[in-house]
Symmetry: C2
């Protein structure tokens, strides 16, 4: 067993390390959060309508400071730095999340659609006022009947040759736009995704700028809006439903970066394949997923900061006559908090890599090749899924670990948990996102990233030899790397020393990913060879598909953590990070030890050794736990105020 030196953490240095490239942006954002700390209390005390207005006010104030526009071009009042805008958004997740999500809706979704799908005329018309939050807008994609399968949206935009307008209509209630942020009250303009129809021919889903309210906030003719009402959380955001009854907009309101309609009604696009075109458009909106994942990871940091602090004050039972034990001295309590703590660090570094790649791709002066874009989209999808699930589970565990105190809204778990809950759903349902990841891996991004649907993927994979799948995909590269580390049998590895070897940990993660992917390919093929219905084939191995994707993303997470440690100079902070990385990787293996044993990759003795080592690592983390959460740099004002009646 490794003889870790017990590290003394340099908290400010660790915070700086975590803050990374954008340490100044993050510190500035922290300052703004503290200035607006009152909103946390307002969220608990105001009624819904008042709180919506309050959140709008904060968003406008923030916009005035440049806080929310960092990602937009300088000529429209933005900061011209995508990486900075992600860092600012992530850090805002320490504060009220209605503010965060309204910022996301206005600047990420609405502003992002104008920026990415529009052309200069749209930029000139809309960007400056929207960056100043004078022109509020919404992003009207999801419909009640269609959330995940957006290619099948029901809203129609028919081109009227005579008037040279698009006519937007909602054919039935399942095609009403739903859950649309800013729709119920504040949006004057909507970016509406609708099936473009020209002369009776459908050209697929495109985005249109559609005014929905006048400057006094009155709905325009033909637009009907219904409030989505109270939600589990995020009640400072005015979500609503929209119906369009033959609403006419000029031809220029098509966001025409990737496709256009001439005055005479001719459809033109540089991208031939309609699927590819659609998913190229969607791909430009990847920043939203990156931001949501990062925000979720940061919300977890708030919960852990509170729960660790509570566990260091609250006592329970103990030796008669003596002091009672601190909660954090209980082995189970350590497991409850330190496993998510380690995973939070791991996801933080994975998110850092992802945000860096996003910045590189979207700031590139030369054309970025499509494969790189698809890999970015896949990584964003996977990190968003794991990060948001992690937030839900971690915040819940922290709430429970604080008992009755955790149930009081004043102690923040209420808002953290309720507000982040929908993160697993919006910007792409997590299960669907992991299916996209798996599809990318199985087809080696040979098609545009959302292009093949589930059944398309089944048919695609079934059309290849399994060997070909393995050859052609990301899998074979893994195999090479694994062979160097993992010999054939378990015996060679059946000594505890190796457990803390990052090469061993990585090899295990890679082996799992490779084996799961190959297994999915085999099962898909077998099903199709047996003449099963593709839908049935997919249904039967859906959990394997998702398991393989999860294994892939977890491997990326571990690699990011190990790489970050390799780039960290020797010292106590590095020792602390190694402890966390070991705890992340071993607890991940422990959680999946059933699978590893089933597949002959883990002996029962070694599985037990992993569990012992996890306990051991928790005990080593115990003395530095407070430092490790303090290093997140969550402002004191964002943490609980009355946990212990003090």
């Amino acid at each position: 067993m490794a003889d870790y030196r017990q590290p003394v953490v340099d908290v400010p240095a660790l915070t700086t390390l975590l803050d990374g490239t954008y340490v100044e942006v993050r510190n500035l954002t922290r300052k703004r959060l503290v200035e607006h700390a009152q909103i946390l209390q307002d969220a608990r005390e105001m009624d819904r309508e008042d709180f919506r207005e309050r959140v709008l006010q904060v968003v406008k104030e923030l916009a005035g400071t440049g806080q929310t526009g960092m990602g937009f071009p300088v000529q429209y009042g933005g900061g011209g730095d995508i990486g900075a805008s992600v860092a600012a958004f992530e850090t805002m997740a320490f504060g009220d999340l209605s503010v965060l999500v309204k910022v996301g809706v206005q600047f990420g979704l609405f502003g992002g659609a104008i920026l990415q799908l529009g052309t200069q005329q749209h930029h000139e018309a809309y960007l400056a006022p929207l960056v100043r939050a004078e022109l509020m807008g919404c992003f009207a994609m999801t419909e009640t009947g269609h959330g995940s399968n957006v290619q099948a949206l029901g809203t129609v935009a028919r081109y009227d040759l005579e008037s040279r307008e698009f006519v937007i209509s909602t054919p039935d209630d399942s095609a009403r736009k739903d859950y649309i942020g800013n729709a119920a009250r504040h949006a004057r303009v909507a970016v509406v995704f609708a099936q473009l129809e020209i002369g009776g021919t459908s050209e697929g889903v495109h985005a249109f700028v559609v005014p929905i309210r006048d400057e006094h906030g009155e709905l325009l003719p033909g637009v009907r809006v219904e409030d989505d009402g109270r939600k589990i959380g995020l009640n400072g955001v005015d979500n609503g439903r929209i119906w369009f009854d033959d609403v006419r907009v000029p031809r220029e309101n098509l966001l025409n970066r990737y496709a256009d309609v001439t005055e005479t009604g001719v459809y033109e696009s540089a991208i031939e394949n309609p699927d590819r075109r659609f998913f190229t458009m969607l791909g430009t909106l990847v920043q939203g997923r990156v931001c949501v994942g990062g925000a979720a990871i940061n919300a977890s940091k708030v919960a852990l900061s509170i729960a660790v602090r509570y566990a260091l004050e609250r006592r329970q039972f103990g030796n008669p006559g003596g002091d009672e034990e601190l909660l954090l001295d209980y082995g189970l309590h350590q497991r409850r908090l330190f496993l998510p703590l380690a995973r939070t660090y791991a996801l933080h570094f994975a998110q850092e890599v992802l945000a860096g790649q996003l910045h590189a791709v979207f700031s590139a002066t030369e054309e970025v090749d499509e494969r790189t874009r698809r890999a970015l989209e896949s990584r964003a999808a996977g990190t968003k899924a794991l990060g948001t699930w992690h937030a839900s589970r971690t915040i819940q565990e922290c709430r429970e670990a604080c008992g009755g105190a955790g149930y009081l809204s004043a102690n923040r778990f209420d808002a953290l948990r309720a507000d982040t809950d929908v993160f697993t759903t919006f910007e792409g349902d997590n299960h669907i996102l992991l299916q996209l990841v798996a599809k990318g891996l199985l087809t080696d991004y040979s098609s545009s990233f959302g292009e093949l649907d589930q059944l398309g993927m089944v048919r695609f994979v079934a059309g290849l030899a399994v060997e070909t799948v393995i050859e052609r995909t990301a899998v074979h590269k893994l195999l090479e790397r694994i062979k160097d580390v993992l010999p054939g049998g378990d015996e060679t590895w059946d000594q505890e020393a190796g457990l803390l070897d990052p090469a061993y940990q990585l090899a295990m993660f890679r082996w799992r990913e490779e084996h799961m992917l190959a297994g999915v390919a085999r099962r898909l093929k077998r099903g199709m060879d047996a003449d099963m219905d593709p839908a049935e084939v997919f249904s039967r191995c859906q959990d394997h598909v998702i398991g393989a994707a999860r294994a892939h993303v977890e491997r990326l997470v571990l690699e990011a953590f190990i790489d970050r440690i390799a780039a960290t100079p020797d010292g106590d902070n590095r020792v602390a990070l190694v402890l966390l990385c070991d705890l992340f990787s071993l607890s991940t293996l422990e959680a999946d030890r059933g699978w590893f044993m089933e597949h002959g990759r883990l002996s029962s003795a070694r599985a037990k050794a992993i569990s012992r080592e996890v306990d051991n690592l928790c005990r080593k983390i115990r003395p530095i736990a407070l430092d490790l959460v303090d290093a997140f740099g969550v402002p004191a004002e964002m943490q609980a105020v009355e946990m212990l009646g003090g």
Copy 2:
């Protein structure tokens, strides 16, 4: 593989089977819930103060109908039937849970304490008005600094010989009463748990009736109250904090069923041992835990009813040109909903056994032996823990499985999830409860149930030979039963046919329990033999202690399910129950397959076979899923109304 007949479920008959002994009480309660269905909407729309008054009003109306007093003696206006009162309470969990919890506070905790800890004078004085909800009261046990270790409460009740009064005082803020339902607004009387002091000697925690408000709702002198404010859920219940500043009550206000103080200040009790006395008092309050567990299980039924219905309407992806697939046709979606569905059925039957035992013990005309009481308390603790965790996880999964629609408060997951969240904490934190269960098993209830604290348990077990522990405890009986079924090796069992054999399933559950308990005993001994600090010994095997308790309770759950099926006549409904029971037991084994493989009780081939069979069972349940949730008999008014925009 067993060739199940595909059953056609007789829904009304299955509802009747589930409703059991108290079918009429449950149907009457359903009727009342429907009459008060408006409260579900009020909960979403009213502000906190108004909603508290509204909930009070409903509670009073229900009290007027006899709905809430079924467990009290007939001479005080009650129904004289404990089992009926549990059934009524469980069923009320289909409706608004603030109403449920306020009923629990008033009639279960406050009324229960007067009934169980008081004597005839207290019954005469308080029961009739409290049963009519004219006298509202609260149960002031928990303090900010002491929730789980209630023997160490800080509030003091000093006997003043001169005035023959008790003087109640709060020594510091950590001893303020906290999270006390009815305290912030409605309670006129509190049952206060405090350290009884006579002439400088402490006699341990006792309960006192302390008036806190006059008839106009004004606080009495010396009583300070603070509102706990907004909570994650249950905002119709007015939780608060109470401080006592030398508040004097007459000697008669000691609830003196188990101990008394004479006028001259002599302490008298029929129970010599103070620990035993205290836990005997607490033991009489077991009904609260039984009720909370049952309510949690029923709240899960509401969530599953909504989520299954949604998954049968919502479509997603599909063959081009054809209909999209129903969500419920996806294999993963089946796993997400049917595993908790099967477990809900299993817990339902376990709860039925528990409620029956509660009724038997508390309705017995002869003295019930202490061992039976301890076993009941243990079973109540374990079922409460598993039932409430199950509710939290199930409701959350159902919310996520309904996507954006699940996030809207109108669709009920908001209240279900927020309101039940604290069930894992109140009436005993689940982890502490499972520690109590383990302690009972390890010491064979040789001491009063709560009597030994954690360290006492460590010392007790360490003082015995491991063989003795195994001999003396519940474990050895299990061993005998296992031997009949499980031969030494896996080989004999390594055929799929056996998986669906209930004898095999039970043997696996029993083997796990036995092995875990013996393992805990060994580890406790080993630690003490190595001269470790008992607190450290306990900390290090705390998760094993809790794992053993969980294994024990799950075994009780499976036994209850199998017994219930054995008592069910042949027919399609029985076939359906067998499907659910198999799914419950195999998915439980699957979830813990890592442990079974580590301990040589499951081969990797057999583990994979279990997973295949779980998938297979899900597909068999798919056609009857709607019937299986309909059989819960959740009134339509309690289910979501606008899931699909219809």
